[in-house]
Symmetry: C2
Subunit: 228 residues, 2 copies
Amino acid sequence: MKIAILGTGMVGQTVATALAAKGHEIIVGTRDPVKSKAAAEPNKYGMPGFGTWHQANQGIRVGTFAEAAAFGEVVFNASNGGTTLETLGLAGRDNLAAKVLVDLSNDLDFSKGMPPTLAVRDEAGAGLGERIQAAFPNVRVVKALSTMSAFVMVNPAIVAGGESTVFLSGDDAAAKTVVHGILQSLGWTDILDLGGIATSRGVEMLLPIWLSLFGVLGQKPYNFKVVR
Amino acid sequence: MKIAILGTGMVGQTVATALAAKGHEIIVGTRDPVKSKAAAEPNKYGMPGFGTWHQANQGIRVGTFAEAAAFGEVVFNASNGGTTLETLGLAGRDNLAAKVLVDLSNDLDFSKGMPPTLAVRDEAGAGLGERIQAAFPNVRVVKALSTMSAFVMVNPAIVAGGESTVFLSGDDAAAKTVVHGILQSLGWTDILDLGGIATSRGVEMLLPIWLSLFGVLGQKPYNFKVVR
């Protein structure tokens, strides 16, 4: 499958590498491909700069957000939640039309320091997934994988102690079926469809406790499971 | 142990019955004991009216919020989140002083119909547990058990598929130890201390996805687990 990943950070790199390894044709979209390919400094989490990563993954194409969106049959939004609507605007309404958009992002506010706070409250339409769907009505938005670290997204087996849960929210059933298949290929077995995109607001609201758990559990892989 | 339960609804009834069965001395606090004892109509979930419940549980005392708070060494807040601060005011600052207050409540807004929305956003001090602690600084607030149905609170074994998680948040370590012991006596094994009362804000923000899950899973018992 032709898959575009919008975003060059830890999530974008990790998902691109994993999906390429599954045999998909991947393009990573960035604001400035030349600048991104030259980025050598590791980030604060120790992930390599995107240029360093790309040296090791030369089979993966890099293009502008627009080139990536035009190429992908499925588009993963791995951009910063705070800039996602701008990123999707650069990707282009026509390039995204009728595509499946897997939204991995979280609308975190880093302006008051660490830990960030979640800029979502529980009002109809106030979630980021909902705002993306409203701004791009002909895009088939599916919220998924936003509730865990990038390493768990692509390798659920690293969480010890049982199979954890990945949530799906989206208005388009066929789009959710496509994403379900991709998730299965990554090893997910407990894929829980919550309903329409409005349910992604509650999914996004898991982030504050996720951040508290990071404080308690640190680098130990963890994830939520709905036991039932 | 002398335990007060503030609130006569489904949560109050269920917790009172379960803790009485463990041998604790229980008093249920209500705004108007005479009126509460006369309430015979079942609620919309099929729970008996409080008066009917009390007929079957005559060993459990009923008093005003203030009488209950004065009696209890540990006080469970099972009142409506929207009226909790008023309830605690009626319970009385002096009656609550230095007590362990286990806050089970959720700040849900039912004014726009069902499902309710959560009146909490991710800003320092904006959670209900945090607001209770700020309003009653000499009360030892511990947020716990607010993330599940009343039936699961007192009987975690009814959730099939593995032991689920109960979270603890509070600024007073000794108070958390007291609550930890009560939780163990109810059958809890995965008791996860997240830290200070500020962490209860993220715990409270689980409610929107809990409500979505109720839509998908219905009456089937379920709960969150942090797999790690």
